[in-house]
Symmetry: C2
Subunit: 149 residues, 2 copies
DNA sequence: TACAAATAATTAGTGTGACAAATATATGAA
DNA sequence: TTCATATATTTGTCACACTAATTATTTGTA
């Protein structure tokens, strides 16, 4: 394995990740979902684990704080998410989905699961395991931290 | 394999790709390379395949035209790349590295190859093959086009 | 108690990614 | 030759990523 190869794999990884996101975003647009792929990720996590502070949520979706602030701003403008002052810590908010946000999640979830499926055609169970293992190895090589299942 | 799993893999792919880019960018900054990861990709391709039109270069680095225009703008401001009018087609440019750009590439290439290596520790030859195959399968699933080796 | 250090969130600035539309030029068919 | 169509590049807009700096508040320690 030459060093040149490593650079090629980095390129391939980047290109594929962008393709997956781009495809999903196109389908989101076709379906008039009214949210972006990243906004969806935030709403989905809130629906499953909320209410959460922004710091907690940023950790879950692996986004930095400025990015999350802006995503929450957008979702808040759209009326899907609300910032509620934390009762004990005035620096912090509890984020939760509004009624509208909840019904949005219910409506979109099955459609999005279906969209996500497309990328993984022509791959089998063993491929997924390998893929997950390799991705996690790469992540840990650069992060030094342990990942949960 | 449940649909939920596909969504998780999509997330994992995105997160890992961002980590790889983030790590490289941090090292670029530490080393005061004076270019971003994407700018480097453009310069590297120009040094290996140039001179090229923007359309040709965009295809090689898998970026859309507006993005490439802006990257070339920045590299041009930094004095690493020059737009030379195409002798036969006045719509088009031939891009080439300047003297400064060439020496930049020579200076950075070995350092960057070393940085790129880090992500792939703890993986073996067979892993790379699998990884490449799976990434290409995903790409083709969403693109419908055939990829070259 | 007082005050330095830590934490939660935001703002600002730059770069990149996607998409649509605009501009300039080239090409091919009537 | 002319004109519709295609091609190369740019511009504009919105969203996301990363860094650094800022604001407001809390916590730990002298």
């Amino acid at each position: 394995m030459t060093q040149e190869q490593f650079a090629k794999y980095s390129f391939l990884l980047d290109r594929t990740a962008r393709k997956v996101k781009q495809y999903a975003q196109q389908q989101f647009k076709l379906g008039e979902f009214d949210v972006t792929v990243d906004q969806w990720l935030v709403m989905k996590n809130l629906s499953e684990n909320g209410p959460l502070s922004q710091t907690e949520l940023a950790g879950l979706v692996f986004k930095d704080h400025p990015t999350l602030t802006r995503i929450v701003d957008l979702l808040s403008k759209k009326g899907y998410v609300e910032r509620v002052p934390h009762p004990l810590d005035r620096r912090s908010f509890q984020l939760h989905l509004t009624e509208e946000g909840l019904s949005k999640v219910s409506a979109l979830r099955p459609k999005i699961l279906e969209i996500r499926e497309k990328a993984w055609e022509n791959l089998n169970e063993k491929d997924f395991e390998e893929f997950k293992r390799i991705l996690n190895t790469i992540y840990q090589n650069l992060d030094g931290q342990v990942l949960e299942e």
